[in-house]
């Protein structure tokens, strides 16, 4: 776990996204405890207030919840919430930008679909 200091994304959002990534990759599973403010602050060398803000963001989005006196836990259904959120931004961040660039270059939709199909990785329908 490492922060990128040259990004324009605020540190507390980077922390929240980092935890989201770990939930998506099942490094932290649903119903499992997530890092405490103190653990995050110590590990990432950030001010505890920043770490707390990152965790609170996830609480507000109902991805994690607080168990009194024990700590923060991943909510059941958190993975789905993160996926839905990320899918919206996937369209915003990648598809729209790709299509705008394609228009500039005069590429038609078929060309793009072909180039997507020729990409060796990714998930196919029958998988």
């Amino acid at each position: 776990m490492e922060l990128k200091t040259n990004l324009t994304t605020p540190i507390f959002i980077q922390i929240a996204e980092m935890i989201e990534d770990q939930i998506l990759k099942k490094i932290i599973e649903e119903q499992e405890r997530v890092y405490s403010t103190n653990e995050l602050a110590t590990l990432l060398h950030v001010n505890p207030a920043t770490a707390r803000k990152g965790l609170n963001l996830l609480v507000n989005e109902e991805i994690i919840y607080k168990k009194r006196g024990i700590g923060m836990f991943v909510k059941e259904g958190a993975t789905q919430i993160i996926k839905t959120k990320r899918m919206n931004s996937f369209f915003q961040n990648y598809i729209i930008k790709m299509m705008q660039e394609a228009e500039k270059l005069g590429l038609n939709k078929e060309d793009i679909i072909e180039s997507i199909k020729s990409y060796p990785g990714g998930i196919d329908n029958n998988e």
Binding site: L3, V46, N47, T50
Partner: protein
């Protein structure tokens, strides 16, 4: 409460104004980074806050009471560095120095002190004068931490310390601060190592306060715009530009200001490179830009 307030403070040595009309409120229980070039007045400011120097004029107050000549208030402040300057103490063993410190600070935590000696692997039977520079720095750090003083000041707490010991110090500091919050001010030149640990940042320049901001706001406002001059000029018209560089038709502007989403879209559409910069780089560019801002 331990509110620290400086009001129109001047500190003059011969004819140099080391601190030049400083009015500043130190917010409670936050970690401050104190940054400035050599001779900017960082150590003088810390000594004024620790009651080891008196202002030439103006006041330093804690909880609305003047710090000068007030022993009870002075005990609430620990300046981690000062062991060395006390005459006669150099020949003491480290153990004796810690014993004295434990008597000075009412909140001294002896358990924590023992743990720190262990973690830093410090031989307390050694004489201070026979200890290495790094070990002497550790003595200051350990006193600063174990004092649990409501206002703890660290003056360049890294001289002679290897990177492993520095990381250890940062980790212990953050961990202990979370457990027992207190006001902490750290002066440092190793800005990159600590920038995300700060909640507030003070930049001193020739005895004056150049910047006093939340680290998060700095992160959100400090930007570099690079691209063709006329384009960059068009999007930075009403912005606070702190430093300009140019190379042929291209320019790099360092800006400390907020941009709306629409403005960022425009910047992207004009193919201007828009990126953030570290606190260290911001400080360097602020200093190069001089006092014009």
């Amino acid at each position: 409460m331990n509110n620290v307030m400086l009001n129109e403070v001047y500190k003059v040595f011969d004819d140099t104004k080391a601190i030049d009309n400083l009015t500043l409120e130190i917010e409670l229980n936050k970690i401050y980074g104190l940054i400035g070039r050599n001779g900017a007045g960082k150590t003088t400011l810390l000594k004024l806050l620790a009651n080891q120097l008196y202002p030439t004029s103006g006041t330093v107050k804690i909880d609305d009471k003047i710090l000068k000549d007030n022993d009870e208030l002075t005990q609430r402040i620990c300046l981690a560095r000062e062991v060395i300057s006390v005459r006669g103490i150099k020949d003491f063993k480290l153990k004796q120095i810690f014993d004295i410190a434990s008597l000075i600070y009412p909140n001294w935590d002896n358990e924590f002190y023992k743990k720190l000696i262990d973690q830093f692997d410090l031989d307390i039977k050694k004489k201070y004068i026979k200890s290495s520079k790094g070990m002497q720095t550790m003595v200051g750090i350990i006193i600063g931490l174990a004092s649990r003083a409501p206002v703890t000041l660290f003056d360049e707490p890294y001289v002679g310390l290897d990177p492993v010991a520095r990381e250890l110090f940062y980790e212990i500091l953050i961990n202990d601060y979370e457990k027992s919050p207190r006001t902490i001010i750290i002066s440092t030149h190793l800005i990159n190592e600590l920038e995300n640990s700060f909640e507030k940042v003070l930049i001193l320049h020739k005895g004056k306060l150049m910047l006093n901001e939340d680290m998060e706001d700095i992160k959100n406002k400090a930007r570099v715009l690079s691209g063709e001059k006329n384009k960059v000029d068009s999007v930075t018209k009403n912005k606070k530009i702190i430093y300009k560089q140019s190379l042929g038709r291209l320019v790099n502007y360092t800006v400390l200001d907020t941009f709306t989403e629409q403005e960022i879209k425009d910047i992207n559409n004009l193919q201007i490179d828009f990126s953030s910069l570290s606190l260290q780089k911001l400080f360097v560019n602020l200093s190069k830009g001089g006092e014009t801002i």
